[in-house]
């Protein structure tokens, strides 16, 4: 599984929609595609908020607008209403739509689930990009597995 991991601490956005838009700005895609992805993630959140641990949200989807799995980890010191509960860590990821991608998507979900189960509190309290990336078992650089 290949993926790209990006990180943004000190998010300036103050709402769920704004955070998703701010994190998607790090994706290497066009403006219109970014808008469509934001729409898809917003739909997913509206039918069920993706809070997976106290203080951690996991907005995610699969889309034909990306060609490889891309993860962006965002952090807000003030917290973001999601909307009923405040979160300070947002792990947003988008998987591509390819032949084996449902399995890859599920495998990646499983990876994040196990990391959050193991160190959810530490992830929510991590003080640096490096720490959070290590706790999530990612490397900032593009990697193959």
């Amino acid at each position: 599984m290949k993926y790209t991991v990006l990180c943004k601490f000190a998010l300036s956005a103050t709402s769920r929609t704004e955070v998703i838009e701010e994190l998607l700005r790090l994706f290497n895609i066009g403006e219109r595609a970014r808008g469509l992805l934001a729409g898809a993630l917003d739909v997913r959140e509206k039918v069920g908020a993706t809070i997976v641990h106290s203080g951690i949200a996991l907005p995610h989807c699969r889309s034909i607008l990306v060609d490889k799995l891309t993860v962006v980890v965002g952090r807000s010191e003030t917290g973001i209403p999601w909307p009923e509960e405040k979160v300070n860590t947002v792990i947003l990821f988008v998987s591509p739509v390819k032949v084996n991608s449902p399995q890859e998507h599920n495998k990646f979900l499983g990876h994040i689930a196990s990391r959050i189960k193991k160190s959810g509190d530490s992830i929510a309290a991590a003080g640096s990009e490096a720490e959070i990336i290590t706790l999530l078992g990612f490397q900032i650089e593009e990697q193959g597995e």
């Binding site: 595609a33 739909v43 069920g48 809070i51 699969r62 060609d67 599920n106």
Partner: protein, 117 residues
């Protein structure tokens, strides 16, 4: 990007979301993470119905027909080829800077094509 093309891409992503939540393995994984999938699936289906109404009947018909036949109706063009069937797309279309301003279909498989600009 042409509005109807944007809507078809969004419809495709919505269908993928519904298909994923219909998969036992993904549903179980999400439920294990504390995410509510049962109600979400119903709501997504309702949203899809509503969303479809905003799409031109001609394109909606083609989308449904292609989805039924191939499983995916909208695909990106990659290196001048349809990523659904790998047919080389006409050069004139690929090099047109306004290629996403109208809906193009693959001359071989008929899938709806977009360019990731």
């Amino acid at each position: 990007m042409e509005k109807q093309l944007e809507k078809l891409i969004s419809l495709h992503d919505l269908d993928v979301m519904i298909a994923d939540l219909n998969r036992k393995d993904i549903r179980k994984r999400e439920a294990d993470m504390g995410l509510h999938t049962e109600g979400a699936l119903e709501e997504l289906r309702e949203l899809r119905e509503e969303y479809c109404k905003s799409i031109n009947r001609k394109w909606r018909g083609l989308y449904n027909q292609l989805t039924k036949h191939y499983g995916n109706a909208v695909v990106p063009a990659l290196m001048g080829r349809c990523s659904g069937c790998l047919t080389r797309l006409p050069t004139a279309v690929c090099s047109d800077p306004e290629r996403n301003l109208k809906i193009h279909t693959c001359p071989t498989c008929g899938r709806i094509i977009y360019w990731a600009d």
